[in-house]
Amino acid sequence: MSATLERDGVATAPRVSVPRGYRFELVKLVSQWRIRLLVLACWLAPGLFVAGVSRQSTLPTDTLFGRWMHATAWAGPLVMLGFAGTWALPLLISVVAGDVFASEDRLGTWRHLLVAVRSPGRIFVAKSLACLTVIVLLVAGPAWSSTVGGLLTVGDHPLTGLDGHLLAPGDAARRVLLAWICALAPTLALAAIGLLGSVALGRSPMGLLLPPLFALAMSVAQLLPLPVCVRLALPGYAFTSWNGLFTSPAQLGPLLIGVAVGLVWAVLATVLAYLLFLRRDFTNPAHDGSGRRAVTLGLLPLAGLTALTVAIVAVATPSTGSGIERGKVERSLATAFAHLYRLQTGQLHRPAVTEARLRATASCTKSAGQGAQEGAGNDWRCVVNWHLPGVAVTGTAVYQLDVGSDGRFVADGDGPKEVNGYFLVRTPTGDAPNPLWQFDGNVELLGTTSKG
């Protein structure tokens, strides 16, 4: 609420309250055609995409959960989340957060706004809240839209998790929602980076490009063979670590660390943007942003935060290497195989078995046993053994594994044909996709090799 201050009997100009400033900023944002179009696209396009792709014979198998899009509605929102975290959200954020302050520079409206509101601090808060509102709207759109698109075309069926176990539709829905909520943390970090760039770089296009460039750098970093403590300390890691929600038990350690790091980045970058904004001299005609010095002042604390986070994660967790060790790969593959074997058994109408009775184990080597048996690469070869109840013979299946540096792997069956060597299995009702032929899995980077 605005207040008129009395000093020596003379009224000073009232400062505009944050709620009024927020409404003002929201009106300005929503009046822009590009924002309206983005909101519309976010609330429609993902649903259409999921509906279309789910009916195709060719599925986006290179995307996590893409191979399950024909089977359940809950795969669609996860495919969209993987795509959004890498490409869509950084671009959307750059249009909103990267431009929210720079647009006033471009339009030459700063002085007008300051005279009207009479408080740079309140302007900053109002702009940030309006920006946050639009970003949440943009994030909620794909989640809602892709879910609806999937439900309408595929239906509410169980989802196969990253370790092969089946999630009941209700459980899958809760985890999908949680995954999108967790992705808000790195989204907010990117938005805060956008605000910082918008404040520090003024009308320079670099301010607008900062969120996508930053996100690209984070994506590239995740592809590099970095130590786990560095990987987890990067603000974009929660765009990947939501994968851990789809294993049993859930891999919560990396997820919580990723979310916490994202939120700390969001807070620090916002505070830095706020301080830079308050220091700005709006009467100086040569000042259209905070310039190089401010960029340095903005970047150094964030670099310091990265170093501090790396140190904390390194001390708090046992993993300092790549986190991808032979024992963990073997355990993850064997677990996923056992779950999916049960699924295949059901497809073939064979007598049901349990994972415990299968006693599946895997034996893996990297680079044919040459060199260190750990780390990412597509040169992992594994042999899975399992026991069938009542049969003396031990089953054997071979897999080639392509393990990413983030712990995600794709297991490609190498035979025998009846088990995992062919993409279809012949069921009493006809041919069906073979769940053991190719599947996704996840190695928990923070986990230990000891079997629990």
Partner: protein, 353 residues
């Protein structure tokens, strides 16, 4: 509390790094008057207007606005409105939406804030629902004026409000400003359009390189204007030229910068000598069909006081080149600056008398 002056500034200095934007500026603006602020580019006009709007505070000096000392940025008294560096408008909003959003910032709706009324005052009712994106500069200026009128200001601060206005728009804006002043609102405006300032202002302040070189009523400029060039159109230009040559205090001007025309005679004179020439012309049976200054008195004073010529060359620049052999140009300029200060002080005192 100063009941006479809406603005009272004493020794205002404002620097941006090494650049001194305002240097010991004194300013008094009488309540209910329209006060013009003129000066060459970079003279400090926008900085001074920014201080009046509360966008910044002076590094030193004392500033009172509407009787209230201003000590912090954006903490000036209520009732001050205006714009510097053009009106702040959002192109994606219509004219009405721009004003309604501003009114909502102050907790008012469009009706109680009088959005339609101010649109009507500036002549934008017909385009009220058009997006500001398509507005011409003149329309934007008028919409900016409408925006500040929403505040019902007691002190209106405008930077170049006539920029881009067509004659009809200018008439609207002049009418609005004149009515506001008649109702007791004080208006401080900057402009490079001397005709606008002469038509609107009762007082002017001339700034040059951050210093006040004149401040006072417009008619006080006559004292510093000295001789002016006048264009005289008569029924017999040859005879008129002969008469002018024989009149004390009159010089005919053949300046290539002044438009030459067979029908016109351009003379340089003070007002009394010009009066004498007119009397002589009439007595000689020569009809005076037109008599007007080549440049307005305000413009002449502006050029004289800011050391500029109408051809764009600065006197200081000429003196630079005329410096002693082997002397750095800067040294000549510095000396010139010292003498200019003394000259300006004398002229101010003269004008004040």
């Amino acid at each position: 509390m100063d009941a006479l002056h809406a603005v009272r500034a004493r020794g205002i200095t404002k620097c941006f790094g090494d650049v001194v934007a305002l240097d010991q500026v004194d300013l008094e603006v009488t309540r209910g008057h329209i006060h013009g602020l003129v000066g060459p580019n970079g003279a400090g006009k926008t900085t001074l207007l920014g201080l009046l709007l509360g966008l910044a505070v002076a590094d030193s000096g004392r500033l009172e606005i509407l009787g209230t000392p201003v000590e912090r940025a954006l903490a000036g008294p209520d009732g001050v409105a205006g714009f510097v560096d053009g009106p702040g408008l959002y192109p994606s909003l219509t004219a009405r939406q721009n004003l309604t959003a501003l009114a909502a910032l102050r907790g008012q709706d469009a009706r109680t804030a009088g959005v339609d009324d101010v649109l009507d005052q500036v002549g934008l009712t017909d385009v009220a629902d058009d997006r500001a994106r398509g507005f011409s500069l003149g329309m934007r200026q008028r919409l900016g004026l409408a925006a500040v009128l929403l505040v019902r200001p007691r002190l209106l601060v405008l930077d170049e409000p006539s920029n881009g206005l067509d004659p009809a728009g200018k008439r609207h804006v002049h009418g609005v400003l004149t009515r506001l002043a008649a109702d007791g609102t004080t208006v401080v405006l900057s402009s490079h359009r001397m005709d606008d300032l002469e038509a609107l202002c009762s007082e002017v302040t001339i700034l040059a390189t951050g210093r006040v070189v004149f401040s006072g009523p417009l008619n006080g400029l006559a004292a510093v204007s000295r001789e002016l060039d006048y264009r005289v159109r008569t029924s017999d230009p040859r005879a008129a030229r002969r008469l002018a040559a024989g009149t004390a205090g009159i010089r005919t001007v053949d300046d290539p910068g002044v438009r030459q025309d067979a029908e016109f005679l351009v003379v340089r004179a003070r007002v009394p000598a010009l009066d004498e020439l007119v009397v002589k012309l009439v007595r000689s049976g020569i009809a005076v069909r037109e008599l007007a200054p080549v440049v307005s008195p305000l413009e002449a004073a502006f050029l004289a006081l800011t050391e500029q010529r109408s051809d764009g060359r600065s006197v200081a620049g000429e003196r630079d080149h005329a410096g002693a052999p082997g002397e750095r140009p800067g040294a000549a300029t510095a000396r010139t600056g010292q003498r200019d200060d003394a000259t300006a002080r004398t002229e101010r005192q003269e004008a004040g008398r």
